[in-house]
């Protein structure tokens, strides 16, 4: 009988822990899923169409990288109760504070433009004119945050996150096409990839994948979300677990996008090269068996729209949180529009200006998309170094400073990112070195 009561006790304990975990769940999953934003989907689609399954192995590296970097924001937020912008001001003074925030607003705005490009393109596949999408989407994006409760925002956003998984069935259908290789080719991509030579284009593609998986806005977003949600040191372990789950999901979805586009385009005879996500959706139609083609196209469009939507939501929020922290304005989703006017105004302004740029005929959108990725990757090292220095500050973190292992991993990541982005910088300036 003793073991019976013991088992009941364990089940009960597990049930309690599960409830706590579910209540903590949110920021990590959202930030990670939103990480597969419109730009990300394009990047993965291009990767798949150019390299087939041979770059799938990078997710084995990107998964721990995403986890280790984002996990630090959970601890920093829960222990210091400050958003990232506030923490930089506190830790490094106003110069670096302003540097970080101005950078962040700039990149966020540019990224937001790419999200609108993605959303408008996705909806145009359904025949909806861009300006209608712009107005409706912006209105919905504002409605999601203005409920005056962080909780409502989080649950609505988690619902939107589910749509990100449409790429999994899309990939399974794509693997059904006659020219697609068998599934064991997919697994080969993880353990025995055949990438061809090492050249500048490969670096660029790897860097682009890296740049969409770890971004400065994610660091800002998750930390502010953790603070706004009111997580404390007791919740850190669950927050880490949730971030781990999020990192796994984002890599899973990304891998499936590559599988889908690889199967459909790279292994097609002749191979089809695509430039962005919208083309993917259009090019996929004729390849699919009757009936499936249109469905796959729609799934891709829905996925792309959802990715842009989540990205836009999180990026604008990250910006309003950070500006609120720096200027001392009320900045919480738990406050109504009346009580935190600036917070919601910044949010809305970011959305409207970025969306309006996309509506301008002949705006240099391709250049902006390229520029975003380059700038984001070059600024990432700075953000990472700030984060690492803060996480090693005992006055700030107390007993929650980075452990030796965490430091080894994270400094490794930071150095890797620095090397990769320097390579990229050098290659852009002196292309002849790598040919």
């Amino acid at each position: 009988m003793y073991w019976l009561s013991k088992t009941f006790h364990h089940i009960d304990r597990f049930r309690k822990r599960l409830i706590i975990f579910l209540s903590v769940l949110g920021p990590g999953i959202i930030v990670m899923i939103a990480d597969n934003d419109a730009g990300g989907i394009s990047t993965y689609a291009v990767t798949g169409s150019k390299y087939g399954f041979s770059l799938l192995w990078i997710f084995i590296i990107l998964f721990p990288m995403a986890y280790y970097v984002q996990e630090m924001t959970v601890r920093l937020g829960a222990v210091s109760k400050r958003g990232h912008a506030e923490a930089i001001f506190e830790g490094f003074g106003p110069f670096w504070g302003w540097f970080a925030i101005v950078d962040m607003i700039f990149i966020n705005w540019l990224t937001l433009v790419t999200e609108y490009v993605g959303m408008l393109a996705a909806m145009s596949l359904f025949g909806i004119p861009p300006w209608v999408t712009f107005i409706v989407v912006t209105a919905i994006l504002f409605t999601v945050v203005r409920t005056g409760k962080y909780w409502t925002f989080e649950k609505i956003t988690l619902l939107f996150c589910c749509f990100n998984f449409v790429y999994i069935p899309a990939a399974i259908w794509a693997m059904d096409t006659p020219t697609a290789p068998a599934w064991n080719e997919v697994f080969r991509g993880f353990y025995h990839p055949d990438m061809g030579g090492f050249n500048i284009e490969l670096i660029f593609i790897i860097l682009a994948n890296l740049g969409t998986t770890i971004t400065p806005w994610q660091i800002f977003f998750q930390q502010s979300a953790v603070v706004d949600k009111g997580l404390d040191i007791h919740d850190v372990s669950f927050g880490k677990l949730e971030t781990l789950a999020g990192a796994f999901l984002t890599c899973l979805v990304a891998a499936f996008i590559i599988i889908a586009t690889g199967a459909a385009f790279f292994y097609h005879n002749p191979p089809i090269t695509i430039q962005d996500a919208r083309q993917t959706a259009e090019a996929i139609v004729p390849l699919m068996p009757i009936g499936y083609g249109d469905l796959a196209r729609k799934l891709f469009a829905i996925g792309l729209f959802d990715a842009g939507f989540l990205g836009a939501l999180c990026i604008s929020l990250a910006t309003s949180w950070a500006t609120g922290e720096v200027f001392g304005w009320a900045h919480s989703l738990n406050q109504k529009v009346k009580d935190a006017p600036w917070f919601y105004l910044v949010y809305l302004l970011m959305l409207i200006t970025a969306g309006a740029v996309v509506l301008i005929p002949n705006a240099p959108l391709v250049t902006i998309t390229m520029f975003v990725q380059v700038v984001a990757v070059t600024l990432l090292p700075v953000s990472l170094v700030f984060l690492l220095l803060l996480l090693n500050d005992r006055a700030f973190m107390g007993e929650h400073v980075n452990t030796l292992w965490q430091n080894v991993m994270n400094w490794g990541i930071a150095i890797f990112v620095i090397i990769m982005s320097s390579l990229m910088g050098i290659s852009t300036l002196f292309p002849e070195l790598f040919i």
């Binding site: 210091s80 109760k81 738990n334 006055a395």
Partner: protein, 428 residues
Amino acid sequence: MIADKNSKLKVIDHHPGFEQFRFLFFSELLKLPVCREKIKNRIGKLSDLVFLHKEPYPEAVGIYIEHGWGKPTEFIPWPNVIKIEDDAIFVRPPESGDVYPPFVDQPGWILMDKHLMGKTVLDIDGRQVEVVNDVHFLETRGLLLLVHVDVSFGGFFRRWGLGKYELVNSNLISWKYVQPLSVEDAVSTDKVTLSVTKKQMLELPSEDLADILEELPGDEQQVLFSALDNEKAAETLMEAEPRAQRQIIANLREEKARKILSEMSTPQLAGLFTVLPHDDVTELMAYLSKDQAERVRNILSQREISARTIMSSDFFHVAKTDNVGDVLNTIRRSGRDPKSISYIYVVNGDGQTLLGVVDLRELVLTPDHLTMSEVMISPVVAAEEDDVQDDLVEMFLKYHYHMIPVVDRNDRILGVLYHNDIDNLISQ
């Protein structure tokens, strides 16, 4: 008091036997030319009106005139004012010299434009934060009294010269219920608190004060919070939202922080500390006694908090053979915190085994000669020392008691749990 019939500054003088009086808005007086006896002898424009704080209504003490261009300011004492007309204010010449002496701020003085117009005040009656758009004066017997502030947009329009259209109705709040929140010293740049802290404000429930604090920007939050006495400040702090709590703590001076912390129980401190940044916690921990800091740290380090960690030793117990009259006398002389005597625990002589409990209200109504064992309720609802917070919350929800005793395996009473301590730990 002479004013012509078409004046917009109305004079009410109907009933014989009543004093002549009229109401004026500050916006009507601001920038009005000030002249020495005749309209030709213009001194300057009224830059501000100076009032002396008095109960119930502050009285005007003078007119403040700025000339700009680096010229010295002038201060015209109120007794020198002859009359206020539509187009000018007429004053007597200074007693000596050609110009009035420059303005020097004094304690207890309030400047209308500088300290009130456009500033936030607390409406103690309505328990709301408002912005002063105009100030309403009563002029009578040569005195000018500050009687109301106008928080409507009407005052706002009047400030911009649109008063004559009467676009909206005024919303006047009696000065009795107005608590100014931030006052800048007119001369120096330091912010100082106005010495006006109304008694009614200190009597507002701490829940309302917390709501008000959450709405205020940093400086004003600080001014209002520093006006509260330590006990009220501690209660208000615990009622406030985490964000406001962090802001208040960040701006607190050490001395005040020590006093406020000493008003709080260990579980309450732990509840507060979980929402504070780590560096602030380190600082505040240093203000606690070593023993208390240890207990707080103990609570903070656990995910599941047991009854033993948060129980208080502040409870009242008597032997079962004591009679009611003696017990009541002991309580009266004990000088205990009222909340700790809502229940009296009855124990047996030797090992403090908990036998029963008596509600204080019950006790008061019972004849003096009965013994405690005759009036006590038994068995007692008690928590085991190892019960964790979820069990405790459930227990409080189920029985609706303010306090519940904590016992060990042998039913010996170890301490008590207070409902609001549990509340504080759960709400985080």
